[in-house]
Symmetry: C2
Subunit: 256 residues, 2 copies
């Protein structure tokens, strides 16, 4: 059987009800499309969730960075290309390129994934799965010219600027708050009036721990010397001490 190409290419439509007031795709929905592309790509090549679930393992998204020139507009048809450029024992690095039919590049994404055992929730050796199958599909040449997700530095002391409850619609099939929902909740920290003036040039998120329905999510906001906004999300509930669940950084640029 011929081997599939290293780069997968999936087409999506910027659905009108997935667009914001400016008629452009919400960053959260774009994130969802990237996760779908990753899922399709890895399943087709035999190391996706569909196989992993049969051996009691799963992929866990650890970091995601998205950097955009422009967001797709309502009804735009676009492609997400995705490929793995590096696989190590405990992490793989997966890239994304978001383009249209004519080759115009909307932007890029970079992500880091771990694999865990579903019972122990501990990391497992990625290269042990199917004799290191993922290594057959490493693509190192194709360009993804944005910076890797980096460590988001935040001061420890500050007060949350918002706390929200989590509900049924926030929870994914694993019983955890959905990765994309965090993105939406973070973007909600800014008002419509802010988005009329500013465009999200780069969004980055690092997932630290899982949260569950009923947890309260607390949002801490800081702005660093490079005009980057950093957000820490913690969870709090009756049974545990407050605990960090993820960190984000956002770079906004003024709209023309």
């Amino acid at each position: 059987m011929e081997q599939l190409s290293k780069i997968g290419r999936y087409n999506f439509l910027a659905e009108p009800f997935h667009c914001d007031f400016s008629n452009h795709l919400f960053m959260g929905h774009l994130g969802n499309h990237l996760l779908n592309a990753a899922d399709f790509h890895s399943n087709e090549r035999g190391y996706g969730m569909n196989y992993l679930n049969t051996v009691n393992k799963t992929w866990v998204l650890s970091r995601l960075a998205i950097e955009m020139e422009e967001m797709p507009k309502a009804y735009d048809r676009f492609f997400v290309e995705t490929w793995v450029d590096c696989a190590m024992k405990f992490f793989t690095s997966r890239n994304f390129k978001i383009i249209d039919e004519s080759g115009f590049v909307y932007g890029y994404g970079k992500s880091v994934w771990a694999m865990i055992d579903l019972d122990t929730r501990q990391p497992v050796d990625i290269l042990m799965v199917r004799n290191g199958l993922v290594n057959k599909y490493i693509e190192e040449e194709y360009l993804c010219p944005i910076e890797r997700p980096s460590r988001v530095k935040m001061l420890v002391k500050s007060e949350p600027i918002r706390s929200i409850e989590t509900y049924y619609s926030d929870v994914d099939v694993n019983g955890h708050i959905n990765s994309v929902r965090y993105i939406e909740h973070v973007l909600n920290l800014w008002d419509l009036s802010w988005y009329k003036e500013y465009f999200i040039k780069r969004f980055e998120i690092a997932y630290v721990a899982e949260s569950h329905q009923g947890d309260k999510l607390n949002f801490y906001l800081e702005q660093n010397e490079y005009s980057v906004f950093n957000v820490r999300i913690t969870k709090s509930n009756a049974d545990e001490e407050e605990k960090e669940v993820c960190r984000c950084s956002l770079l906004f640029v003024k709209r023309d």
Copy 2:
């Protein structure tokens, strides 16, 4: 040019990140697919948003009822068939059938739409648009065997069981709170533990007025003699008196 068929058929995938803890599509995402199907169907036939926006008009969803035997599971490919079974001066009635490749029927939907002028926000005569073009595509024979959306009766006096703020991600391209978001917010009134026991057999929503980012949404809940839950959503803000924005009714059935 040959006329398109009266019934449109669009295929969708139950995306894994659009599924709830039980691995089945969220009702809100299904609602979104129905709205997409309506949008595609009407655009292809020349009386959709794409044309209406050029003459300063738009469709407004007035009522939607969804009744399901079963929800699509993650990765299920399914079809939404949609057709208009009746068009009058101020309303059209549009049906939906949700089926899989083998013909299994997941469920049905019924909706009522008005058309408004974008400046006056007043209803306009649907049959005046393109010489009553919509009438060329009326399909009265194809079955949609569920009840029409009905008037939801509620007592006037009660206290809200929840009030929430509205944010950037809640707002659609018209600057209003997205129709699908109301569905999500209503379903969030019940906990994960409830959904482990109960399945949403029928969901119905009537849109009464528009709300905007910054409005607070208040949820009033009642249960009637037929074990149907009714929900009224109102908006409140600094400038206006509290005002109803929509009403829903939900019929839950015990899971096997």
